[in-house]
């Protein structure tokens, strides 16, 4: 698999670091990691930074992850970019909302690096 540019969206900077570390532990070769602390910031970041993968929390201030997923298609750079949700919101209705809005995967916190691998690799393989 080629080098990946990833956008990690979470209002917790600690969690963004953990997600990045988990991606590396999953064997994903990260060329570039862009961070954003909410959905609105992430939309702005995508306009300037084309990426291959987005990992996104749901509960965030300003713009939550579900709204971000709904709006991401408005960013030219981001059309077709796979989004995997990583969130404490583990209910079936949240999963359904996220997937029906366009997310390709869903990881519940707390999560292991193996779970990140299990959910992210198929998404990247499908994209390539």
């Amino acid at each position: 698999m080629s080098k990946i540019r990833a956008l990690i969206v979470d209002d917790s900077s600690v969690m963004r670091k953990i997600v990045e570390r988990s991606l590396r532990q999953a064997g994903i070769d990260l060329e570039k990691v862009v961070e954003a602390s909410n959905g609105a910031e992430a939309l702005g970041a995508l306009r300037d930074n084309p990426v291959d993968l987005v990992l996104c929390d749901i509960n965030m201030p300003v713009m939550d992850g579900l709204e971000f997923v709904r709006q991401v298609g408005t960013v030219e750079n981001a059309k077709g970019v796979p989004i995997v949700m990583i969130t404490t919101e583990g209910s079936e209705s949240h999963v359904v909302q996220a997937l029906s809005s366009g997310a390709r995967g869903y990881i519940r916190k707390p999560f292991t690096p193996d779970q990140v691998k299990e959910h992210v690799l198929p998404v990247l393989e499908k994209k390539s």
């Binding site: 600690v14 670091k17 953990i18 201030p61 404490t88 949240h94 707390p110």
Partner: protein
Amino acid sequence: MNAEPTTAAHPRPESWLPILELSAQEVFEIMLGCQVEPVKEEENPRNTEFTAMVGLAGALCGILTVCCGSEVAGKIATRMLGPEIASSEGQVWDALGEICNMIAGNFKNKLAGMDGRCMLSVPTVVTGGEYSFHSLADGDSMSTVLLFEGQPVTVRLELHS
């Protein structure tokens, strides 16, 4: 961990303490790579130098708090970030807030019938032990003390009736 208690087996809040304990234990085990066990509260008094809070609203309404000493909070941040990253004061608050958030999320996800009907607030962290906590939650409350590297971490849930 194989045990997976839910409200189907424990329909009343007064029997939810094992679910809360399991929720916290799983977060520590998965995110920090360490096992924590409940201990007697009277032998391990609560240290409130750091208090993280997450509100619950909807079908389950109340507040979940995680209290610990500053040394413990620092160790939690170091465990989460890894020893190679020096944790700043802000990252310590952030780490404890995320632990609280994950315990609250894990807890509500284990409660049968709560599907999508309970929302969590973003976490808040208070530092400094000289404060009084007045929750307006008027229902059941439960708390557990877990020993993390020999020091207490108190997880408390207060519910509206």
